[in-house]
Each structure stands twice: as C-alpha cells, then as structure tokens.
C-alpha cells in the first residue's frame, strides 16, 4: 500500500477524477436540457384527483417530490390550469390528501389564446340562445373555421392597418418636414396634397376598423360549454381555442402528431401570453439576422488583421501591439463592449445620424436608440479575435511552395495573396466566421443594452421600403431565456418554455461549433489534395 502511494498512482486517479467531473458536468447539462426541453410538448395524461375534503381536481402532473422533513411522504404539483377560474396554474397536493386518482377518458385539454390551458369535459356548443351537444369530430371543423377567422383578423390588424399606419406616419413626417422649410407656393401645394392623401387613408382606416369589428362580433358568436372538475360550467368562446386534445385516449400515433404540431408551432409561431406560450420565431429570426449582419462586419476586419499579422508585420513593435489588442478584445468583458456600443454607436453615432437625416421625427429617435445594426456592430468588435485566430491558422497552413511559385511567376505580393494564399486559407476564414457566429448567437449581456427587447412589434424585415430596417429593435433567443425565466410575471408556468428555448439555443451554438470543426477538417483535406 505504501509503495502504491509512493508511486503516485492515487494522485493520478484524483486528477482523473477532476476530468471525470468535467465530463459529468457537461454531459449532465446537455442531458438535463434535452430531457426538459424535449419533454414539454409530449402530451401528458390528464389526471382527476379526488381529495379527502371532497374537492375534485383535473390537471396534468408537473412534479412529484418528497415532502421535506417528513419520512416517506410525497406531494404532487398539479398543473390545474384554468387560471381565469382558479387564479393560479399550479397546486400542490400531499399524497395523504388524495382519495382517488383516475384518468377520465373524455377529459379535454383546451389550449387558449389567453389565460393558459383549460381542463374539463366537453358539454356542448352554445350558439345564439340554445345549447346543443357537440361531438368532438365537429369540434375540429369548428376550430378550423375559427382559425381561418383569426387569420383574417390578424391579416387586417397586422398587414392592412399596419400598412396604413406606416403610410400615415410617413405623410405626417413629411408634413412636419415641410413646416421646417420656407413657406412657398410649392410647399403649400405639397402640403395640401399630403393632407388629402391623409384624409383618404383615414377613410380606409375606418373601413378596415369596421370590418374588424364585424369579425370580432362573429368571433364571439359561438361558445363551447365546458364542465369543469368541480362541477361548474364554463363558457369558452371557440375563437379563444387554439387546439383541443384528449391525451388520455390518444394512441402513440396521435401523440406523435400532437408533439410534432406543438414543436412546429414553437419554431414558427409567435409568442403568446407574455412570451410564456406559443413560439419563438421572432427570436430565432432576430438572432439569425443579427448574426448575419455581424458577420458581414466582422469578416473583413478580422481577415485584414490576420493577413497583416501573418503576411506583412513580421515581429515588430506594432505587430506585438496588434497581438495584444487582439487578445484583449477577446478578454474584455462583453458588458464593456455593450456599454461602449451604447455610448458610441447609439448615442454618439446614431444620435448624429438622427440629427442629420431624421430631424423631422426628433425628439423620438430613429437610429439614436438601440437597434439590430448597433447590436450587430457591437458584437462584431467582440468576435474579431475569433476570426483573426482562425484566419491566421488558415494562412499558416498554406504551403510555402505555393507562394514562392507565385512570386517566381512574377506576381506581386497582393496578387499572390489575393489569388493564391487567401483562397487556400478560405477554410480558416470560414471556420472563424462560423465560430464568431456561434459566439454572437450566445452572447446576451451587450445586446441587453444595445437593442434587444422582450417583444418586438415587427420583424426587422418586412414589405415596407427599404425592406430591411436596421434601426429596429429585435428579439433574441438568449435574451428570451433571461426575460421569460427571470422577468416574466408567471415564472413557474414559463419554465418549460425556457428549457425549450435553451434547447434551441444550445442546439444552434453546438451545431455551429461542430460545423466549424468539420469545415476546418474537410476543407483542409480538400484543398491540400487540390493544391498538390
């Protein structure tokens, strides 16, 4: 034993233990996020609890855990839904209270546009005064109808009225601009024309509003009568229902279909209920667009720096300075970049642009406030080192023979670089770009102060000229996690959504990183065989 100790082997085991700890941490984290993230859309069974005091509850089991400081006692957290009736989504039940626990076949989960889920039994349909029974097959066609109506309403609200508002705003700004100019016959005529157009738009606006009011009236016509667990009846307008499901009688195939539908909605849908339900499409879109703008800014800067360091600088004082700057750009906290972005890009630069080009809409800022462009530029400073390091690596891997061959043929240095070296180093540049994108996709702190919002009214790309609106605020997956998980009024109900969003972000970042590694290896091989 003493000999064994002296050999140092136990210490090797200890160091092995630290590596094991690292491995366990990372795999544990990924597994944890996957379990929680993938699980939420799988239909849960609806359980009916009868308690000792006679209460009947209907809902999904959210969690089960031992009661602290009691031996062998367990309690269950039940998602009872019906927030508009009970006031809260969850309820704890001790096992000791439960008399019976059943899975009623006909129990229905209603997913609603407001107030979260509703659990109950379908009683009938109320239209006008009468209530008539409703089969669940008929429910599907009802829902289809109401969804079509919903789509129409959204279309009017978002597209038509949005369009009119946009045009009215433009006219308003032009009128304001005219008042800043000298009064002349020309401006007076222009103002009159604008006013006439404004009046016309207002008329259309009122018409649209009337249509909307009619649609809303229609939406209120039909109501589903639902019997709640406690025997009360509840009217739910069909228009409010997004989807109904009967998880207790679902077969495996139906469950998979439900799961796919929910996941689809999550990726492509708009958020609902203060971001705690629905989808994250705007956040995904914002993240992708911001990352793309950022890469347009970062690649030239990073590549120039790397080319300078590798090809032009040698070992001079300046090159050492540049190297230290690069390593510092990598090491300076991201929040410092954020505050720099706020002070420099937004207040200094954006404020200047506003004064020069958008003076008619002042004091409300156009570029002088957070926006996707400023966020992307801020992040591009942060990710320069990633591109520099990878590009340098790529440049070093270009065989010396190639350059010498090029020089021997009489090419100048820039020609050699442009036509021989840089194409050879493309895998490096690409790797750097992808890694920079991965870094930017996951960064949140600087975005929080340079243009991310919890709910952006419109995407940065739409049908209005100039189509890409770089000054708009945007949503971001990482910020979505922070906001929904920590700032939402109903954190408990929101946590499953946060896990799924986390999963999407984790997936994005890991995929980008893996792609970078694969690109590096594959392209390196390809180029090295081609160069032969």
């Amino acid at each position: 034993m003493k000999k064994f100790l002296r050999s140092g082997n136990p210490y090797i085991w200890l160091t092995a233990g630290t590596l094991t700890a690292c491995l366990l941490m990372i795999s544990g984290l990924v597994v944890l996020i996957m379990i929680n993230g993938f699980g939420i859309f799988w239909p849960h069974k609806i359980v009916q609890f009868t308690l000792q005091d006679g209460t009947v509850l209907l809902g999904e089991i959210a969690k089960r855990e031992p009661i602290p400081h009691q031996k062998d006692a367990y309690r269950t957290k039940v998602k009872v839904g019906n927030r508009d009736v009970y006031g809260m989504d969850f309820r704890w039940i001790d096992d000791a209270e439960v008399v019976s626990q059943t899975y009623p076949v006909h129990a229905l989960a209603f997913e609603r546009r407001e107030w979260g889920n509703l659990y109950g039994f379908l009683q009938g349909l109320r239209q006008g005064d009468g209530v008539k029974p409703l089969e669940k097959e008929a429910m599907a066609s009802l829902l289809r109808e109401s969804h079509a109506l919903y789509k129409k309403i959204r279309n009017i609200e978002k597209k038509d009225i949005g369009n009119i508002n946009y045009r009215m705003e433009k006219i308003r700004l032009e009128l304001k601009h005219l008042t800043l100019l000298q009064l002349s016959e020309k401006t007076r005529k222009r103002a009159a024309a604008l006013n006439a157009r404004m009046a016309h738009l207002e008329k259309i606006y009122r018409e649209k509003e009337d249509t909307l009011a009619r649609f809303y009236e229609k939406a209120r016509e039909k109501e589903v009568v639902v019997l709640l667990a406690d025997g009360r009846e509840k009217m739910v307008p069909v228009f409010q229902i997004i989807r109904t499901s009967m998880p207790n009688e679902m077969g495996a195939f139906a469950k998979v279909r439900f799961y796919v539908a929910k996941s689809w909605e999550f990726i492509w849908g708009e958020p609902r209920e203060a971001n705690t339900e629905g989808g994250v499409f705007p956040a995904i879109f914002g993240t992708v667009m911001m990352v793309l703008i950022m890469s347009i800014a970062v690649v030239p800067l990073g590549v120039l720096t790397a080319v300078y360091l590798k090809e032009y600088a040698g070992d001079s004082f300046i090159s050492r300075l540049v190297r230290i700057s690069v390593s510092n750009l990598a090491g300076v906290p991201s929040i410092v970049f954020g505050i720099f972005g706020l002070g420099f890009f937004i207040y200094f630069f954006g404020g200047g642009i506003d004064k020069l080009f958008f003076s008619e809409s002042l004091p409300s800022p156009t570029y002088g406030t957070g926006g996707i462009l400023w966020a992307a530029l801020t992040l591009s400073l942060l990710t320069v080192p990633v591109v520099v390091v990878a590009t340098e690596e790529g440049l070093s891997s270009v065989p010396k023979a190639l350059r010498e061959g090029s020089y021997a043929l009489g090419a100048t240095k820039i020609e050699t670089l442009w036509k021989v070296v840089i194409p050879q180093a493309t895998p490096g540049i690409l790797t750097g770009t992808i890694l920079a994108m991965a870094r930017a996709a996951g960064e949140v702190a600087p975005l929080m102060i340079t243009g991310v919002v919890k709910l952006a009214p419109s995407l940065p790309i739409d049908s209005h000229f100039p189509y890409i609106h770089l000054e708009r605020k945007f949503m971001h997956l990482g910020f979505h996690i922070y906001d929904v998980g920590f700032q939402s009024p109903n954190v408990e109900a929101a946590i499953p959504m946060v896990y799924t969003t986390t999963l999407v972000l984790l997936f994005t970042v890991l995929t980008l990183n893996l792609t970078a590694i694969i690109v590096r290896n594959k392209l390196k091989k390809w180029y090295s065989t081609r160069a032969m």
Binding site: N328, F344, G478, Y482
Partner: protein, 775 residues
Amino acid sequence: MKSLKQRNFTDTAARWVIKLGGAATVFVILALFVFIFLEVYPLLQSATVTKEDTYSVHGPVMSVGENDRQEVAYVLYNNGTVEFISLHSGATLKRYQVAIPTNSVITSVDKDRNRLVLGTSDGKIFTISITFSESFEGDRRTVIPEVSDECWTPLDNQKGGIHGVTSRGDDSTTVTAVYTTDNHVVLIASEIEKTLLGDGDKKEIQKDITGLFMKQSLNQPPLPILHPSQKENTDERAEGVPETVQAADNPSGILTEEKSATEITSLTLDLFMENLYAGTSSGELFHINVSDRENPFLVETVKVSESAVTALGFLLGDVSLVVGDASGGVHVWMQVRDTMSSSGWALKKVHTLASHGAPVVKIDASQRDKGFVTAATDGTIHLNHATSEQTLLKLTSAAQASTLSFSPKANGIMIADAKEHLLQWHITNPHPETTLKTLFGRVWYEGYEKPEYVWQSTGGTDDFEPKLSLTPLIFGTIKGTIYALIIAVPIGIFAALYTSQFLHNSLKIIKPVIEIMAALPSVILGFLAGLWLAPLMERIFPAIIIMPFFILLSIVLAIFCWKTLPVFGKGWYRHGIEAIFLIPFIVGAIYISIRLGGGYEALFLEGDYREWLSHFLGLQYDQRNALVVGIAMGFAVIPLIFTISEDAMSNVPNSLKSASLALGATPWQTAVRVVLPTASPGIFSAVMIGFGRAVGETMIVLMATGNTPIMDWNLFTGFRALSANIAVEIPEAPHGGTLYRVLFLASLLLFVTTFIVNTVAETVRQRMKLRYSKL
C-alpha cells in the same frame, strides 16, 4: 493586361490598406478606452460659471429669487416693495407694495417654497406668496409674476421688533417661530380646521418659548426638569403632562434657571413642522420639538461651534441641518440613531465643508439635490455639496451678501449685496455628488448610523440622496470571482494535467468536447444556475456537504476494484482510461450522498440545516448564493483554464519528460516535478485569463445571485457584481447623467482590470513560447 506601374501601385495601395486594417484592432481598443474615459471624466469636474450678470437695485434688499428658467427675478426691499426684474433686459416688469406700517421696516425674511414670511421692526409678521405662472400665445411664452395671499399677524404682548423668523406650512397648518429684539422666542401656530362645508375655521396659538432657552449648565447630573413654560402663558399649560415624562423626553438634562439667557442668533424649522432648531451666540444649538404646539419641549442642546452660530438652514428633505458659524465654519448635522440618548436619537456632525474666512451669514439649499450655497460677511460665496463634502465653486462679490438665492433648478446663484447690486451667476454643476470619496469610500448618508459603503442609485422620493459607492459592487465582483476560481482552478489544471500526461491516445476526443463546453452561452449557465441548481441545492444542501467525501471514497473504491479484480489493468482496461472508469463510481457517489443527505441532516445538522448554519456558524442561507454562482461561473471558466494549460503542458518538450523517466522518476513525479514547473507560465496565464473571464461575466451573476449589494464573505449569500449592475441599471440611466457616468466608470474599472490581466497573460505566454522554442 495592366501595366507594371499599375500593378505596383495596386501592391503598394494594398499594403497600406492591410496595414491600416491590421492596426484597426489597436484603434478599437484605444477607442474603447478613450471613449469610456471621456464619459467618465466629467464626474470629477467641479462646477463652472457660464455667465455672470449684474443688475442694480436701490435700497437694502431682504430677499431675492427667480423663476425656474431664470428669466424673471423678484427683489424684496426692506420697505416692503417687491420688484420684478427681467433678467434679459434688466427692466422692472412689475411692482408691488406689502402693506407694512410706514414707520417700520422688514427685518427678517424666511422662504418656504413660494411663500415668504416677513418679520418687521414693529413686531408684525407678514406672509406673501410669489408665483411665476406662464402663458402661451402661439409659440411665445410669457412669464407672469404675481404676489398674492398677503396676510399678517401681530405678535401678542408686544416685545419689540422681530429679529429673525422661520416658518413652514402646508395647506392647513402653518407654524412660525420668531425671535425678537428683546430676546424672546415666540411660536405661532395656525391651523385651518376644514368643516364639511369647506370653509375653514382658523385657530391660532401664540406661545412664548423663551424659557426653553435658559442657559443650562451641562456639568450637573440629570435632575427632574422644570417645566419649560413656567413663566408665560400659564393658562395654556398642559396639565396632562407629568414632569417625569418630560424628563424622559429631555436627554441633555437640565434647565437650571440662571438669569443670563443666551442670545439667539438664528432659527430654523423643518418642513414636518416638528423640529425647531435655534443657534446661539455661544455656539450652542437647541433642538426643540414643537409637534405639540401647546407644549413644545427641549429635546437636546448640542455645542456645535466654538464661536457663535450665525446661520442655519435645512438641506432638501429637511433632514440634514447646515450650521454656519462666526469663524466661517460650515458643517452639516443630522439626527442619528443613538442608543445612548434617551430619545434614541442624537444630533451629530456628519459633514464638514470648506470654511469661509468670515462669519457665515446666509444659507440656501438646492431644491434638486443635497447641494447648498453659503455666503459670508467678506463677500465670499461657496457652492457646496453635503454628501460629497466638496466645495464646487467659490465666488466673490464686492460686498457682503444681504440675501442669497439658489435657483429652483440648481443652475444659478443670485445675491443682493450691500452695495445695491443684484448679482446673478449661471452655473453648470452636472455631477456634484461624485468625488473619489463618495465613489469608493465610506460616506455618512442621511438616515445611517455611521459612514458606510452603500450602492443605492435610485430612490422613491425627490429628496433621495443617491448612494453611489462602487465598493460593494467591486466587493461582489471579487467575491464571485474568488469562489469561481476556487472551484475552477484545481479542476481545470488537474484535468488538463491528466489529459496531457496520462490520458490514453484513443480518448483524446475528450479535449474538443471540453472546448465545446467553452462555447456554451453563459445565459444558459445562468438560467440553469438560477432556476435549476439554486432550488435544487436549497433542497439537498446537506447532500452537497457530504458529496466531496463520498466522491473521494468512490475513487478509493475504484482504485481498489482496479487493483484486485484480475481483469482490470489488462486489455481494454489499461492505464489512461481512469477517467472513464471512474464515471459509474462518481455517479454512484453522487446518488448515495443525495440519498443519505436527509439522514445526515437529521443526525448532524439538527434536522434543519438553515437553523444549524445560523445557530452554529451565524450564517444566513439565501437560495441564490455565491456557491451557486461559483459553480456556474466555474463551469464557464474551467474550459478556458483547461484548454490553455493543457496546451502548455502538452507542449513541454518530450526530451525533458524522457530524461526524468529515465532517471527513475515515476510518471506522477515527472508530471509534478517536471511538467508542471515547465508549463507554469502557461498555467499562470490560463488562470489569469480565467480570472478575466470571471470578473466580467455578466449573465451568470445577474441570474444566479440575488443582486443585493451587501458586503460579506458568506458563501451562502448573494452579492451584486459590477457587470450585473451595469446590465441592470444602464437602461434606466438618463444619457449624460451622474448614474450613467458612474456606470461607465464601473465598466472602465472592468476594462482596465481585464486589460492588465490579459496583457500580462499574453506577454507571459509569448515569453513561454520563446523559451520552449529554445529548449
């Protein structure tokens, strides 16, 4: 085909473009520093005068003032004339005459917002209101000054002229205190009792409280107190108040009746109409509680100055009292909790400002912050800020200021001097509340028992005193960083050592896996730490305590298995796979410690670990605490330390290792005695870079701590770090304001720290590369 000349030109142009592009990163770093510094710099500047105007007046002026935008000023002469002067043209806009008796003059004035209270030489008290309303004609704005609500009260039992007056009032109540030329102090309280119909019944009380100011001898032991109002107004004397109660309310003891009453030199009343302070010619300050108008009593007497008290004034919020004395000293006093005194409060000196060379005569406080202006007999005028204890501006007028006004927006000072001049200074004073001391040191804030480090940037009320000490935030950053490094450094370095020296080649894939760990967005770590780990740890805390022990035990068990079972050590079970072999053992250890956690708590922690912690160790346990942050941030830092130090260790030349092994050293000895020392510069820079990352990490600390700016090293409480603080507060900080700039200062601190750390680390790494290449 381009000519050679063209090609050469392109080549040269490209060279310059690339050089410039290469230098761009240097520019970015410089720009970061310079820009942030430029935003911070104005914090430490003092005030400046932007414009100085002089107008002439005629006759002794008793009071001046101006409107919000500094367009119209009023001047009150001692004969009761009010003149409104346009500050653009100097023309007199309007005149008003207060109806004071013809053979008397105004001797004293007190300003209570827009209400002026005037005391006359024949013992009458006049009240007027001066308002500036605005009217719009299209885009043109005109200011309409007005004098209204004139009324007056005579003093009962005529005691000569009024020497000084102070008055505060609200909609229904007005309390005024005066001291007269024959040294009497009279309290006048009037209350309008609203009836249901809306008309008021005015009730007025006048009470001579001179008795409270009788000279006391402080050396005597406490004796039962004489009733304060034993001389006058016996009819109004409250019989329900027993003398013992009075004694309890009267900490400084004693009022022995000596004949020589001290001369009162100044009086001031707070806006709660409760505390009346009077300064005397002998440098004492009397604090009299007048909340019961019928029975005011002396709370305490404090010696505030060696010379006479010459001016008193409250700061915004009427908590801090500015005392000016005959030797020119300016001090700020306030009521501080004190268990020694019987009322639980005592008046203490909290701030000392720069002295004037002559007696201080006038004090006017800002209506915006804790700033105030003082004027002395030699014509010097100081602009001070109480919290930061700095004198921001020193002005001089040709003659003594007879009255002084600090403009409503705290951007101008106006005085009328004895030489019949009205002087107005426009000032810019953007950041009076910040000095190096208020930013980093202990400051005695209003309502605190002693000077403290406090960060509290916003408050609910207008008279809020911003507390901008960065020390608690720096402390928080250091606390989080240290706990993170305690966890990350050993794990990172030892895992790197194992990976580089002992891990089997077929398992080298582990390295990129851990590098991917570095790519994990910190918001994910923060979310899991805050919403998963923190509640989990709160629930199974006892298991966490015993977990390290069980993990060690499991490793021993693993070694035992490895050694004894014949199949181990051969074939696939060779050396270099220990890390994989250990996985089931460590998972088992974690499982067992969670199962046994409850039992451990019941046996050793008296069934409740929180109580045990607070009872035996005096520690508080918060759900989101430094341990959670340490683990989460450790998670973020480990891959950094791991990657860099692994690089350094695997680059140690093989010749060194082989030599060591050939001399008979075991692999472990070689690793510790040869590899570690050789790679130490690399490990050092790894730790440095890890440190830099932990210092600036924002999302994890933001989400996994309670963000409370407290200062203690307790592992189980939260903290507020610089970075998280910036993220939380900058969206609400107005552009260019003090908070905005202080947050920039916070980021400058982060920047400079990480800059130094990174530069050192980078330099060390470069040196190491050079050394390896020589070996």
